[in-house]
């Protein structure tokens, strides 16, 4: 069981700076403080979602339902606000709904023994369908300002959404690295049977891990809904892949047992910077997917090269 989170992801950091410098050289608008704030804002939702995903992947699991949880929980939130339930109770209701939806995944894995891939693929369909059934595919829009500040408000010089994302990421760091629950979660991912024999309450761990993933998905839903002033059934489509990409790019292994929140943060920033830079330097649409694919692979290679040199091995 290795703890990767000692800023070993320097390769990724170099890559991020290299990419930033490259975009900056191509457009004078890229390296401005306003634009860097934009990148932070645009990375907020991936960071929140990927924080939960880091915990899940640390247990050697996967959560394909976070996009659907995001949409269904934000619809519940929106519905509550439209029915004159106050802003904060509505958010609480949405986040609780996210926890329950994630908890259902956990129960499926822990009690029914369904693999995480299958159960979350299944619930992804179910939650998305419920969102469509409830709304009949019609968006819910127009929320009070006290809610919308989560999308556009500022806390001093820092946008509120960025604050929330950094708080979620540091919270996840604390959970993963400093609590017994985090140690147990990584132990489960590292060696399930060994963890069980050592008395780790694996059922409870699985349920909690997926409930937390549901909570982060619904928190991401708060930001998305507040920023767009709209909750809709197709929100968060494909978000799980973006989150998984950020996590794996950040060095968390698919095989579980290790987790790197700093790596996840860097992965999410790379994805955010890429999306922003492609528009700023005006890359034609057909080439954007090509560039995104290449950057993903290069980022991982940059990281790998550095680690190999450090460990003195090649695979």
């Amino acid at each position: 069981m290795r703890q990767l989170d000692r800023f070993q992801r320097v390769g990724l950091l170099f890559f991020l700076f290299f990419m930033g410098g490259w975009f900056g050289a191509l457009s004078p608008y890229f390296l401005t403080s306003v634009n860097i704030t934009n990148i932070l804002i645009q990375s907020a939702v991936p960071i929140i979602a990927a924080s939960g995903m880091t915990l899940v992947i640390a247990t050697a699991g996967i959560d394909l339902s976070i996009g659907s949880i995001l949409s269904l929980s934000s619809i519940i939130m929106a519905w509550a606000m439209k029915n004159q339930i106050g802003v904060y109770p509505s958010i609480l209701l949405g986040v609780m709904a996210g926890a329950v939806m994630g908890g259902v995944n956990g129960v499926g894995i822990a009690r029914l023994g369904v693999s995480p891939f299958i159960i979350t693929l299944g619930t992804a369909g179910i939650y998305r369908a419920l969102a469509l059934i409830i709304t009949e595919a019609r968006p819910i829009y127009g929320f009070p300002m006290s809610f919308r500040i989560f999308g556009m408000g500022e806390f001093g010089p820092v946008p509120l959404s960025v604050m929330v994302s950094l708080m979620v990421a540091s919270g996840m760091y604390v959970i993963l690295m400093w609590t017994r629950f985090g140690t147990h979660a990584r132990a489960v991912g590292s060696h399930l049977e060994g963890a069980y024999r050592m008395g780790v309450p694996i059922h409870r761990i699985f349920i909690l891990v997926y409930a937390i993933s549901g909570i982060t998905a619904s928190l991401a839903g708060v930001i998305v809904t507040a920023r767009l002033n709209t909750a809709e059934a197709i929100a968060g489509l494909g978000m799980e892949l973006e989150a998984i990409a950020a996590v794996v790019m950040g060095g968390t292994s698919f095989f579980g047992g290790e987790a790197s929140i700093s790596g996840t943060l860097l992965g999410a920033f790379i994805i955010g910077t890429l999306g922003n830079g492609l528009t700023i330097i005006n890359v034609p649409s057909y080439y954007q997917q090509l560039v995104i694919g290449l950057v993903f692979i290069m980022a991982v290679l940059a990281d790998r090269m550095r680690r190999q040199r450090k460990l003195g091995i090649t695979i």
Binding site: V45, L228, S285
Partner: protein
């Protein structure tokens, strides 16, 4: 003869719409017909009157996906017609805009179930062709909108009834022309396009229509064409980045309203409320509200309800062995603050 005749009827149509706009503007509350009812009767007249069919007939309809409000309204058009003619129309849809194989499966299932006619809105020009061949073998007429590649279908041995109702290219042109008109009022300037999913037929056509208008106007400069994949969040970010790269941007044409509404939100969050003329396509209810509030400049409307209604009526006409004209374009309305009050019953 055909083209000339069509050209003339288009002029009449425009004059007609202009007259209606005039009448409705100056005769408030005078019992003037709504724009929707006008457009509807114009559209329905292209197919002509239909006699009541046998009430036992069953028609299968395949809109693309009911996860998109556009197709939900198309479905309502089908259902309205079913009630009006007292027949059964079953609507089946796929889960997502890109479920191309699942859509073919649905068509083949409906062919096997023995409907008297099927109306299918194919996702790509080719994905339904194998099903169309099977329908032909069973003698079931299939109505498809203009997206099917008729040449490839004929070569494969299918014979669908192709009708053209919606003109995505024209939608792009009309939306962009409105932006040009508005931007010219302030001396011209930079414009941009936010396109849908690259490669999707309606995304490409709307983009190309807008591009063609922007590129032939000397007073506007098209500075960027960026994809946002119909996604609200992505469009929000693209708009933020566009305004970052071009702080003096004057207009954005978005290939649908969802992206246009996100563009408006992004623009307002950057403190540039009202600086950019944002236009979308589809005239969804949320866009209507945003136009009324003066936040969204305009939306290009081509009634989805009439798409459903016309396809259903064409299916009935096919069962009745009626002559079916190929081009039955639904009139396009450029909705803005000037005519939004005429759009209360639009669907």
């Amino acid at each position: 003869m055909g083209t000339k005749h069509r050209g003339r009827s288009r002029i009449y149509l425009r004059m007609g719409v202009g007259l209606i706009v005039f009448l409705c503007t100056f005769n408030h509350g005078w019992g003037s017909p709504s724009l929707f009812q006008e457009v509807r009767s114009k559209t329905l007249s292209k197919l002509g009157q239909l006699s009541k069919p046998d009430p036992k007939i069953k028609i299968g309809a395949i809109p693309i996906t009911l996860a998109n409000p556009f197709w939900v309204t198309v479905k309502e058009g089908y259902e309205f017609t079913a009630t009006e003619f007292g027949i059964q129309i079953d609507v089946h849809a796929v889960p997502q805009e890109n479920s191309i194989v699942a859509q073919l499966d649905i068509l083949e299932n409906l062919v096997a179930k023995g409907y008297q006619a099927i109306s299918a809105h194919s996702i790509t020009p080719h994905n339904l062709i194998p099903g169309l061949v099977k329908a032909k073998a069973k003698g079931i007429p299939v109505i498809t909108d203009g997206r099917v590649d008729l040449k490839a279908a004929k070569e494969a041995g299918a014979d669908p009834i192709v009708i053209r109702l919606v003109d995505f290219y024209e939608q792009g042109r009309i939306g962009a022309s409105f932006i040009v008109k508005e931007v010219k009022k302030t001396g011209g300037g930079k414009v941009a396009i936010i396109e849908g999913l690259p490669g999707a037929p309606q995304a490409e056509a709307r983009k190309n229509g807008a591009k063609d208008i922007f590129s032939k106007e000397s007073m506007v400069q098209l500075v960027s064409v960026q994809p946002a994949n119909w996604d609200r969040m992505k469009a929000y970010h693209v708009t933020t980045n566009l305004l970052q790269a071009h702080p003096d941007l004057k207009g954005i044409f978005c290939a649908n309203d969802v992206m246009a509404l996100a563009a408006v939100e992004a623009m307002e969050a950057m403190g540039k409320k009202g600086q950019v003329v944002v236009v979308g396509v589809d005239f969804i209810p949320q866009a209507k509200k945003a136009i009324e509030e003066g936040r969204l400049a305009g939306s290009v409307a081509q009634s989805p309800f009439l798409v459903g209604e016309m396809c259903a009526r064409t299916a009935i006409a096919a069962i009745l062995k009626r002559e079916i004209p190929q081009e039955m374009f639904i009139p396009i309305i450029m909705v803005s603050r000037e005519n939004i009050h005429l759009m209360s019953d639009w669907k």
